[in-house]
């Protein structure tokens, strides 16, 4: 795999390709040899017990955590050589909101949209899509409920139009309506050509949403009858 090879739009190259990927947090091997292949436009559910390495895997795919052994290619970029260049092409919805509490919803979405190199119009349409225009747009993020903050973070994500979505427990803390919004966004994004990997403990809902399931345990992808073979998704 060459680094910086432009992504093949015909979709024959997997968006994610990991073989024996090891990621260390300090001296602790959070990922202890993960094998994973994900094709374009797939929606993948990542499940596993707490501490299995789901969050680290998502962050590693975003280029935030270095891979110290094995192969790791995301969107055609070899993460072992250059993990910075993949970052602006992915969208990560993490445990933290990634928002400035003292700024308003609109200020946050606009800032993060412009920071990602998109235009203000993208910010406006993202806020409309997430129902954040109108009364909420001028409220400081610190005053919002969890669900509203999650929606703001999502607005920042969709405004970037990332090729790979990495969602860490997107359903957590949301009411039914909020979860429906997330599912709708995910489905629309896949149709539009993006790839989505999400972790969730809301298995009923997420299994409906996902095309494939990967189970993580002890820092590796486990054999799982729901996926077939050795935990790789076809």
């Amino acid at each position: 795999m060459e680094p910086d090879h432009p992504i093949s739009r015909s979709g024959t190259e997997p968006v994610v390709h990991l073989r024996g990927a090891v990621a260390l947090l300090g001296r602790f091997p959070a990922l202890a040899g993960v094998d994973l292949d994900v094709d374009r436009r797939r929606i993948v559910l990542l499940r596993g017990a707490n501490g299995a390495g789901k969050t680290t895997l998502l962050r590693a795919l975003a280029g935030l955590v270095p891979i110290s052994a094995g192969e790791a290619v995301v969107l055609g970029v070899d993460l072992r050589v250059d993990r910075q260049s993949v970052r602006h092409r992915v969208g990560l919805l993490a445990h933290g909101t990634g928002l400035y509490d003292e700024l308003s919803v609109a200020d946050n979405v606009r800032f993060w949209t412009l920071a990602a190199g998109a235009v203000l119009a993208d910010a406006e349409s993202a806020m409309v899509r997430l129902g954040l225009d109108g009364r909420l747009s001028d409220v400081s993020v610190g005053r919002l409920s969890t669900g509203q903050r999650r929606r703001t973070s999502l607005a920042c994500l969709i405004a970037r139009r990332p090729e790979l979505w990495l969602l860490d427990e997107p359903h957590a803390g949301l009411d039914k309506e909020g979860r429906d919004v997330v599912d709708e966004l995910v489905r629309d994004a896949a149709v539009a050509g993006a790839t989505i990997i999400l972790s969730s403990h809301e298995l009923d809902r997420a299994i409906d949403l996902a095309d494939e399931i990967v189970t993580l345990g002890g820092g590796v992808a486990l054999d799982d009858s729901g996926a077939g073979g050795d935990g790789n998704v076809a």
Partner: protein, 222 residues
Amino acid sequence: MLHDAWLIARKDLKLEIRSRVALNQVVPFALLVLVLFAFALDPDRGLLEKATPGLYWIAVLFSGLLAMQRSFAVEAADGVTDALRLSGLAPAGIFLGKTLSVAVQLLVLEVLLGVGVAVLYGTSITGWLLLLATIVVATAAISTAGTLFGVVAAGLRVRETLLPLLLLPVLAPVLIGSTRAFEAALSGTPSEGWPWVGLMSVFAAVYVVAGIFGFGPLMEES
């Protein structure tokens, strides 16, 4: 890079306008320092008058430390550092943007302190050009070095004690230079002050370059 710097500077200043921490806490702190110096140095004995330039710049330095801490405290919230890394903003741009926003806050502080000193210590102000040049250059020096060392200390549990330990020895020449330049201006011999302005410009230039190249590696968590 400059576009990114502008985005960050605007965001930081907007944050400050919304939260008003610098205005409500840092400025009063600086004025408080001036008042405390007056208590310690007895205004009637002429010590205060002679020491005014030095006391002014010490007040600026300590208040500047607070402003710098604040500049990085806002980025410590809730996943924002990850978001910054993912945003694709050029690290050099982030450095310049944060430096600019700290510099603006410092300039406002220095002007207010100048008024405070003129009023509280009865200083008469001469040598305007040198005074202004010193303020500009010293502010550039303090904000560039402060932002660079600020990111070195950022995200650490010990950052509140580490930053002063790193920054104050480094800024000692700026304290010496700006005090001497102020003394020269106020005593009517500005020609003695300009070499100091030159030295501080070199300092600021070194740190701008260091910040532009060093900020990227420093932003990584590992």
